[in-house]
Amino acid sequence: MFTRPFRFERAGTLADACAMLRRHGEGAKVIAGGQSLMPLVNLGLAQPEVVIDISRAGSGPDAGAGSGPDAGAGSGPDAGAGSGPDAGAGSGPDAGAGSGPDAGAREISAADGYLHIGALVTHARLAADPAAARLQPLLGAAAGSIGNPRVRNRGTLGGSLAHGDPAAELPLVMVALGASYQITDGRRPRQARAEEFHLGYLTTGLADDELIAAARVPVLGPGWGWSFHEVSRRDGDFALAAVAALVRIADGIVVESRVAAGGVADRPVRLADVEIALSGASPGEIGARLDGVGPLRGIRPVSDTAASAGYRARLCRVLVGRALAEASARSLAAA
């Protein structure tokens, strides 16, 4: 509403954006989907001097054109929202197949047991992607729970990961999955493990001139089951607590598990004590093993207008139980 003017720069590539960040320094903010930045700008809580738009980075040689014959799905009231992999092919952050050095930033691809998801892939596209659904269903389950359809049409993977909200769904599943992020400063790429990247409340391991280019996510291996559970006051609101769980049952017992919780600390946390307690349990023993775990270590929930810390902690345990039950069932079915 009451916003001070700022300048606008469009970056044709992520490398350009990094260079712009270096040039403009502290007064610059990057915008992709805008779902995290713009509320802050609109409420006067962020007052950038320059906004660097990466929403069309890597979308083709004319990364700013958008309205020519290559713009994809048409225009007007029958443009067809759709929900398949071609959803929203056009001139937004979701402009589909890219080209040039940032082609990967807009794509979802699979190779060597990993899914590569470009940072500019929107939540809507990730939630609807058939390859992601087949190879790592946790991703779609998380992405499909984010906000409302408008948020999902614009919000991007990179934006969510870089923002670092402790209740956010995608950082949670990245930690649960042991994913890593490809980060660029335009000069040298580097990798960071999700678990080491999310440092605290709205704090990540990104340097001031770096951007996330892609996430590298292990596919769901044979025999693994998965589950994602979230509770919020209304559908799509910030999670009061969320749990992502993966369990592999072999020869009738749990041989491996990965369990992580969101919304109950300043970042997603692996619930190592739960994983340890599950080891060697038969599916029927999982509940009892979980009951035997004391207060979950690593969680430090806060009280706010939505819920108290105590309720969040209690909710977390309930969701862990539900997620483990569901993941185990899926693991058994996958056998």
């Binding site: 606008f8 700013g64 958008g66 225009s75 056009g90 409302n148």
Partner: protein, 165 residues
């Protein structure tokens, strides 16, 4: 027509709004909502919260519902934007979805109505028949404080029932 990739406080943006090409040079900081309302004189998308929470500013950008208050106009330069007014027939009469809203009293104060219409249009554009629960799910990010939602769901169901196959 591409937005110039230079650092500037004012920027030229061209959007096709409800089928009509509109070009304006205005503040680069303008959200799509403000650009439509202040630069282009299109006032049916409304300011309701500035957070993307209420849906009163919903417009279609290349067919997808977005919160116009959270998009910078410059980001979508060259796109096609549809507002509720864009659902009217060529002769200015109400489109079928709008007529269904009228018949089912889906607008009381009417402030959420443009956003609801646009969201509904996008939901129905997929061509698949939606049940009432799915209609509600499609509307869940659009707040209404007057109707209790039932009449809006009724209207969308009516429009769906009456749509030519």
């Amino acid at each position: 027509m591409s937005a110039e990739s230079r650092t500037s406080a004012e920027i030229a943006v061209t959007l096709t709004v409800n089928g009509r090409e509109v070009s304006r040079t205005a503040g680069a900081h303008l959200t799509l909502l403000r650009w439509l309302r202040e630069a282009a004189g299109v006032t049916d998308p409304k300011y309701g919260c500035g957070e993307g929470s209420c849906g009163s500013c919903t417009v279609l950008v290349d067919g997808q519902p977005v919160s116009a208050c959270l998009v910078l106009a410059a980001q979508v330069d060259g796109a096609a934007v549809t507002t509720a007014a864009g659902l009217l027939q060529a002769d200015g009469s109400l489109g079928p979805l709008q007529r269904a809203f009228q018949q089912r009293h889906a607008a009381q104060c009417g402030f959420c109505t443009p956003g609801m219409l646009v969201t509904a249009a996008a939901a129905l554009a997929g061509g698949r028949r939606l049940g009432r629960a799915e209609i509600r799910a499609a509307l869940h990010g659009n707040l209404c404080r007057c109707t209790g939602y039932g009449p809006i769901v009724d209207a969308i169901e009516l429009a769906q029932d009456e749509a030519p196959r």
